[in-house]
């Protein structure tokens, strides 16, 4: 290597190397140009899309929910345009501060504030929590102008569910509420996270969720990286959910619910031509309107503590011993088994079977009793006698044919189907053979028999028409054709006449006669004993020990159009039930006359069901203070209510050891009226 380097050689090296550097610089320049060309041209589409998805935020507009209509097209559940406020807990910086300020702006009570704080903390990191709906514009505006201090709070115009008849339809329709985490996990749609979206939580609202929901609208907005909305781009309207049209007659449903008054009970009315359920009311009830923003702790505590279980739908989940209301059905079983309607027994107030005496309710005896008299006078001995002859199996079979112990294909969350006891059932359940006293108990609807009010109404309709009436809740434009029950000869007419005589003849419920000249009601009373005669006379004393009052009926008696079942829990006896049935049936033929009667009662009771509920709430809230546990989420609540209902109707662990001694009164009624109010204090 040349050790002698000159200045000129270094100049050459510099020139060469500066050329290299220039070339490297040019090369990098070309590389950059090519890279930029690649990103901006070849990948332009991809990056344009990504830039748009940055810039544009799609927010969903909750769809207007489909209406729930009654059979005549009037709304049982509709939507009201309103101003509402929601919170997205994830975006809230300081829950306590936000809730404090909101409560101040919206004039919340301490309890409402505690509820809101609880929901915000529970919902943390999840979907929107409703704060309030149906706001006046002033309050809405007050929240809107304070938004900079309220991160995560979303005031918006929207629609909220509105049930015009409130508590009357609570059990039937259920209610709506913000989706829970569980619901989102099973159905992870973005709509479920949208503020203001509500889904069905119970009843028909839950059953027809997919029909009612509709298609959400969408609003495209330009947003900054920080989430601030810069401007609206475009809006797609929502598509309202489809309406569903029920078989329910709205005014009748409301009437039935209100007519139950202070009692705890249920009314089911069925159209005998179509099987349409015209009314299915269970009282006391809750106001579904107030549930849709979440169930408040006061409301929950008030409802949960009430021993009349306002959260239970008693038409489907109340199981009761049917009492004497099964007698027409048992008589039909006798007829079909070949017994002549003229076959008679002498009733001397009791019947000796072996070495035991089974008493008739009329201790003095009915004398000569044939089938008609057995029904209209509700003679127990008549039924004891022939049941011993014909056996339990014919009765049990007829009970099942009439719909007792059966589940019906209805779109309801759940229905309890009760028990039709027979020897096989008893052997399996208790491992004991069927005893004569079991038959005796069954013929008067006591012992193991447990049915729900809907089943009683169906039984009434099937006996009245001789057709296999199936209930339905949704109108679908078809007229169902029912098969015959295949009752022989004039058996249907025999029962119709005997049941008419209960009301219009020499029967036990003369005061159930309709105040309408040309329509005759047929019916059958029933009193179901809850405890033995040694504990209570069934008419007074602790509410829990009073007898259930039942009444099944149909009208007109010789051409049945409507069938009805009424059950009054602990009403003291059937005397509490048939006036309700009479007025409800009257409403079907002459609404004004029925309403006049109701208004008289309501003046006495202290207002409509809604008014009484509101007043109770106010009284309860002021008494209770804030120290109440928060309400459970709707799904938990539904499970809890269901479990309690199941526990309430659980069959006895031990087999019965004897016969029921019937009350000495065919249509007893409570000697003290039920407590005013919804019955918190009634124990």
């Amino acid at each position: 290597m040349d050790r002698h380097i000159t200045s000129n050689q270094l100049k050459d090296v510099f020139d060469r190397r500066s050329f290299v550097i220039g070339a490297v610089q040019g090369g990098i320049g070309l590389l950059l140009a090519a890279r930029m060309g690649y990103i901006a041209v070849a990948e332009n589409e991809k990056y344009t899309l990504e830039s748009e998805s940055n810039r544009v935020n799609l927010s969903l507009i909750p769809p207007r929910r489909g209406w729930i209509l009654d059979r005549n097209g009037s709304p049982l559940a509709s939507n009201r345009a309103d101003f509402r406020v929601d919170i997205i807990p994830e975006r809230v910086h300081d829950a306590q501060k936000t809730v404090d300020l909101l409560s101040e702006l919206l004039d919340f009570t301490a309890i409402e504030k505690a509820d809101l704080l609880h929901r915000v903390e529970e919902g943390r990191g999840f979907s929107a929590v409703p704060v309030a709906s149906g706001l006046e514009f002033d309050k809405f505006a007050a929240v809107s102008v304070r938004l900079p201090e309220l991160p995560g709070v979303i005031p918006q115009r929207g629609f909220s569910r509105y049930y015009p008849t409130g508590p009357s339809v609570g059990h039937l329709l259920g209610y709506v509420g913000a989706p829970s985490r569980e619901e989102y996990e099973t159905d992870p749609e973005p709509l479920l996270l949208t503020p203001g979206f509500k889904m069905g939580k119970d009843g028909l609202e839950q059953q027809f969720e997919t029909t009612l929901r509709g298609v959400p609208g969408a609003r495209r907005v330009e947003v900054t990286a920080g989430g601030r909305i810069v401007r609206d781009l475009d809006t797609r309207e929502d598509v309202q959910g489809d309406p569903i049209r029920l078989t329910i007659d709205g005014p009748l449903q409301d009437y039935a619910a209100r007519r139950l008054g202070l009692e705890s009970g249920s009314v089911v009315v069925i159209d005998c031509l179509t099987g349409d359920i015209l009314a299915m009311a269970s009282m006391p009830s809750f106001d579904p309107n107030s549930f849709s923003d979440g169930i408040g702790r006061v409301e929950y505590s008030m409802l949960a503590e009430n021993d009349r279980v306002p959260l239970r739908n008693k038409t489907l989940k109340g199981l009761y011993p049917p009492g004497s209301t099964v007698k027409p059905m048992v008589a039909m079983a006798f007829l079909e088994a070949g017994l002549s309607p003229d076959a008679a027994v002498g009733c001397s107030g009791g019947l000796r079977v072996g070495n035991r005496v089974f008493h008739c309710w009329k201790r003095g005896g009915h004398g000569h009793v044939d089938m008609a008299k057995g029904i209209y006078q509700s003679c127990d001995v008549y039924f004891y006698h022939f049941a011993q002859q014909l056996g339990m199996d014919v009765i049990a079979e007829m009970a099942r044919r009439c719909g007792l112990g059966q589940e019906f294909p209805l779109p309801v969350v759940s229905q309890f189907y009760g028990t039709v006891p027979d020897p096989a059932w008893k052997m399996e359940k208790y491992g004991q053979p069927w005893q004569p006293y079991d038959t005796v108990n069954a013929t008067i609807g006591q012992g193991y028999m447990l049915f729900n009010p809907l089943q009683l109404a169906i039984m009434s309709a099937r006996l009245a028409t001789g057709k296999v009436i199936m209930p339905r809740l949704v109108l679908d434009g078809t007229t169902p054709q029912f098969g015959s029950m295949n009752f022989h000869g004039d058996h249907v007419q025999v029962i119709q006449q005997a049941m008419s005589d209960v009301v219009n003849g020499p029967g036990t419920a003369g005061r159930a006669r309709l105040p309408i000249d040309d329509v005759l009601l047929a019916g059958k009373t029933g009193t179901a004993q809850v405890v033995g005669l040694n504990l209570s006379n069934g008419k007074s004393g602790p509410w829990k020990y009073r007898d259930h009052g039942l009444f099944i009926s149909f009208a007109p008696f010789n051409n049945p159009r409507y069938a009805c079942a009424v059950v009054i829990e602990h009403g003291g006896g059937s005397g509490a039930a048939y006036p309700v049935a009479r007025d409800v049936m009257t409403f079907l033929f002459d609404p004004q006359k029925a309403l006049d009667a109701l208004h008289g009662f309501e003046a006495e009771w202290g207002g409509t069901a809604q008014e009484r509920l509101d007043r109770d709430y106010a009284a309860y809230a002021s008494a209770a203070g804030v120290d109440l546990p928060p309400a459970p989420a709707p799904m938990t609540l539904a499970r809890q209510v269901d479990a309690e209902a199941r526990a309430a109707v659980a069959e006895p662990q031990q087999a019965d050891t004897g016969a029921i001694r019937p009350r000495e009164d065919a249509t007893p009624v409570a000697t003290t009226p039920p407590t005013f109010g919804t019955g918190v204090a009634a124990t």
Binding site: R3, H4, I5, T6, S7, L10, K11, V13, F14, D15, R17, S18, I21, G22, Q25, G26, I28, G29, L31, L32, A33, R35, M36, G37, I39, A40, V41, E43, N44, K46, Y47, T48, E50, S51, E52, N54, R55, E222, V223, T224, A225, G226, V230
Partner: protein, 374 residues
């Protein structure tokens, strides 16, 4: 040269070749900054223009400084800057945290910036003074390395990887141009291949290592460290050929692009002006750098040559690293784009380099005319 056009001497000697492209670039930069501020001259565009005007005057004054002064001032300037760097460390240590600035009354000094042209200046002076025959000796390697590593270490302590690399790059380019043997570069290259992965794993701070890892796979962390690169590519890519139009860049206007007025100003520009704007910026940088290299080649003495070459390389380093970064070819190191990014230090450093180049150009012309070239 070009004596066919008879211009008055001051006008003819005015460095039009660089001032016109630079002014165009700075004006374009000001437009981008105007848009990045949401359509407002303040706070970016106006101060950008004022800084350019002030530093341009400074550069023009520099160009009248005799080159010998620069050569003789190299060692004092280097030492002074080193003292300032140590002062920064001391103040930082006393203040309980690292910092890069010195507050001297109303002035905010960032000494590491001065070190970028400073390292070029001292190495050019060193090789100028080094006897020609010693260029292949160890002294030609070890002394410059020592001169470089000391300030680099101080800057790394701040910690400021980008500036340390810029200092290193300027120094290495001067050594390369000075003619030290090629095998040393090859050896250093091989050593670097081995050392860089080790350095990444053991020397770099956590956040620096994270940046390197993210650079290798930006999509791995799209909302964290990879966010910058991803958003920058989205801005450039969505601009297409002609851009979204002035003031219509959604990435920058809606805050998706981080640092839209400093490190990622090129992405801000590319979103609104598209590929056309990008090519324009590359072209201007090409003209400026080509001018810088031609000044270096025309230089008549070793000091001027190395100074001009090194200063050009320093500007190039800024441009290249910044553009490679915004296009996803280099990790995010926090180096602004010369003459476009908003920021006083960057403008000052780059205009110091430009001023140095103008000084060499004026010196070349004087030497050329005194030597009778035309």
């Amino acid at each position: 040269m070009r004596n066919t056009i008879a211009l008055p001497a001051p006008l003819a000697q005015f460095p039009w070749r660089v001032v016109i492209p630079l002014a165009m670039l700075v004006l374009f930069g000001a437009m981008v900054l105007y848009s990045a501020a949401g359509g407002s001259l303040s706070p970016y565009a106006s101060s950008h223009l004022v800084r350019f005007a002030v530093t341009l005057v400074m550069a023009l004054i520099m160009s009248y400084v005799p080159i010998e002064w620069a050569r003789m001032g190299a060692i004092p300037a280097y030492l002074a800057t080193l003292v300032l760097l140590m002062a920064v460390e001391a103040v930082g240590a006393l203040g309980g945290g690292s910092q890069r600035w010195l507050n001297i009354g109303p002035l905010v000094l960032q000494p590491s910036e001065f070190m970028k042209p400073g390292i070029v200046l001292i190495l050019a002076a060193f090789f100028h003074a080094l006897p020609v025959g010693m260029i292949r000796t160890w002294r030609a390697l070890l002394v410059p390395l020592g001169i470089m590593l000391f300030p680099m270490a101080l800057v790394l302590l701040q910690p400021d990887l980008g500036t340390a690399l810029a200092i290193g790059f300027g120094g290495v380019v001067v050594m390369f141009l000075a003619g030290i043997p090629q095998k040393w570069f090859i050896g250093a290259g091989v050593a670097g291949m081995v050392a860089i992965p080790l350095a990444v794993m053991f020397v770099l701070k956590d956040y620096q290592r994270q940046r390197v890892l993210t650079f290798l796979d930006p999509e791995s962390d799209p909302l964290g460290t990879g966010y910058h690169i991803t958003q920058s590519k989205i801005a450039i890519g969505s601009g297409g050929i002609f851009g979204k139009g002035f003031g219509n860049g959604s990435q920058s206007q809606l805050d998706y692009l981080p640092e839209p007025h400093t490190d990622f100003v090129f992405a801000t520009m590319a979103e609104e002006w598209g590929l056309i704007g990008g090519l324009f910026v590359l072209l201007i940088f090409g003209i400026v750098l080509r001018w810088g290299l031609s000044v270096a080649r025309d230089a008549k003495d070793r000091f001027s040559r190395l100074l001009a070459g090194g200063l050009t390389a320093t500007i190039f380093f800024y441009v290249a690293i910044n553009l490679l970064m915004v296009m996803g070819f280099a990790p995010v190191v926090g180096i602004p784009l010369p003459f476009m990014s908003h920021g006083g230090s960057s403008m000052l450093t780059n205009m110091l380099c430009i001023g140095g180049l103008m000084m060499v150009e004026r010196h070349n012309r004087r030497m050329g005319s005194s030597n009778g070239f035309s």
